[in-house]
């Protein structure tokens, strides 16, 4: 029996180039990213005032915050995809990014009259924002799961959490091109909620999706 198996595996051997895992992640992620962008573009639309928003720092902070989290998440995915992998610095790095955003948010509040506070904190879409991020994250989450199913994650719940957070961060990034809010406190609260919500759902689904 085992002899047959070894025979079959040896005949089936194809070379694996160095860096193959990273390329696999890039190749599976790309369709997920395109689908997420398409969902935002077709289902929500680019923000109508994009031309006015582009020169403002608030727009870029709102876009760079989830992008930075996504990059940390992708590095963490490369770690958890390997047996025994635990991304030790990812949590700390994400916290630093969050604190940077929170400080910018507090600074923005300081510079604004208090009549603007509700707009900067709740905007007009706070109750919807986390769910739009969740929807935009679904195709990315699917892509990441496909990637991980070819990997060998051994800390399954942690891996599902990292997969969800990364998908959420990428979903939040695509949404940042459609979202009309300009408040950084809004981003710090509601974007982060959307990303964490996606992370928790990713963790809940992990046992079923990532078992091997």
């Amino acid at each position: 029996m085992t002899d047959d198996l070894i025979d079959r595996l040896a005949t089936d051997l194809k070379p694996v180039r160095p860096g193959a895992l990273g390329r696999l992640l890039a190749c599976t992620l790309l369709p997920g990213l395109i689908l997420s962008a398409a969902l935002i573009l077709l289902g929500h639309g680019l923000r109508p005032d994009l031309a006015q928003a582009l020169p403002t720092p608030a727009f870029w902070v709102k876009s760079i915050y989830p992008l930075a989290l996504a990059l940390i998440g992708l590095c963490a995915l490369m770690v958890v995809a390997r047996p025994g992998g635990v991304p030790r610095n990812a949590g700390f790095a994400s916290l630093l990014i969050y604190l940077a955003l929170a400080s910018l948010g507090l600074w923005q509040l300081r510079l604004s009259p208090s009549s603007d506070y509700p707009n900067l904190i709740f905007g007009i879409s706070y109750w919807l924002c986390p769910f739009i991020i969740l929807v935009a994250a679904i195709p990315v989450y699917g892509a990441i799961i496909l990637f991980l199913r070819r990997g060998a994650p051994t800390h399954i719940r942690l891996t599902g959490f990292v997969a969800g957070l990364t998908a959420g961060a990428i979903g939040a990034w695509t949404y940042s091109w459609g979202c009309i809010e300009n408040g950084l406190p809004f981003v710090a609260i509601w974007y982060t909620s959307g990303i964490i919500l996606t992370g928790l759902i990713g963790m809940l689904l992990s046992r079923r999706l990532l078992h091997w």
Binding site: I6, L9, P15, G151
Partner: protein
């Protein structure tokens, strides 16, 4: 059969990743024997059929997931993390909670985490400081879990010699470690 060391297994794995079928066949065959003893020792109450299943399952996992092997890292640590994953899954499926608890505790206590991997590399470095045959005895008895009589039979030495050389070797390592920490 001769037990291969980390260096040799890793060399075989690297050749396999480059597509060398002969090396791969050899690697799978070596690992199969390692796995039979690894699972055999941990599934004392189960049928040998379970051991066979687990061995095949693990070899298949190695094949399908070899993309996750990082060429810069130790091979055995990577491979036995997969083997342990399959073992824990087996305990879970067979509802063997007592075993599962122990296995998880062991995992928390160190297992094959990054720290344990670097500790393993330190152990290898320390063993290399001993005469080759003495390092090999310690590796077999203490690290790979072979019995003293087994090791004695394979190396052609008496059991007493094996026991004493393992003991003296560990004493020498301990002395070396003390020296290292007082140097700092």
């Amino acid at each position: 059969m001769k037990q291969l060391t980390e260096t040799e297994l890793k060399a075989l794995m690297l050749l396999s990743l480059d597509g060398d079928e002969v090396a791969y066949r050899c690697l799978l065959d070596m690992l199969r024997h390692l796995l039979v003893s690894y699972y055999g020792r941990r599934l004392s109450r189960s049928a040998p059929a379970d051991v066979d299943d687990l061995v095949q399952d693990t070899l298949l996992a190695l094949h399908q997931r070899r993309i996750t092997y990082d060429r810069g890292r130790p091979f055995t640590a990577w491979f036995f993390t997969i083997a342990r994953h399959k073992l824990v899954d087996h305990y879970r499926r067979s509802d063997d909670k007592a075993h599962l608890g122990m296995e998880m505790l062991e995992e928390i206590a160190g297992g094959y985490s990054e720290d344990a991997v670097s500790a393993r590399m330190d152990v290898n470095r320390l063993l290399e400081s001993l005469p080759a045959w003495q390092g090999e005895m310690i590796r077999r008895v203490r690290l790979e879990g072979h019995s003293v009589s087994d090791t004695a039979a394979k190396s052609g030495r008496s059991e007493a010699v094996v026991k004493i050389s393992v003991f003296r070797g560990i004493q020498a390592i301990a002395a070396k470690l003390k020296g290292e920490s007082s140097d700092r």
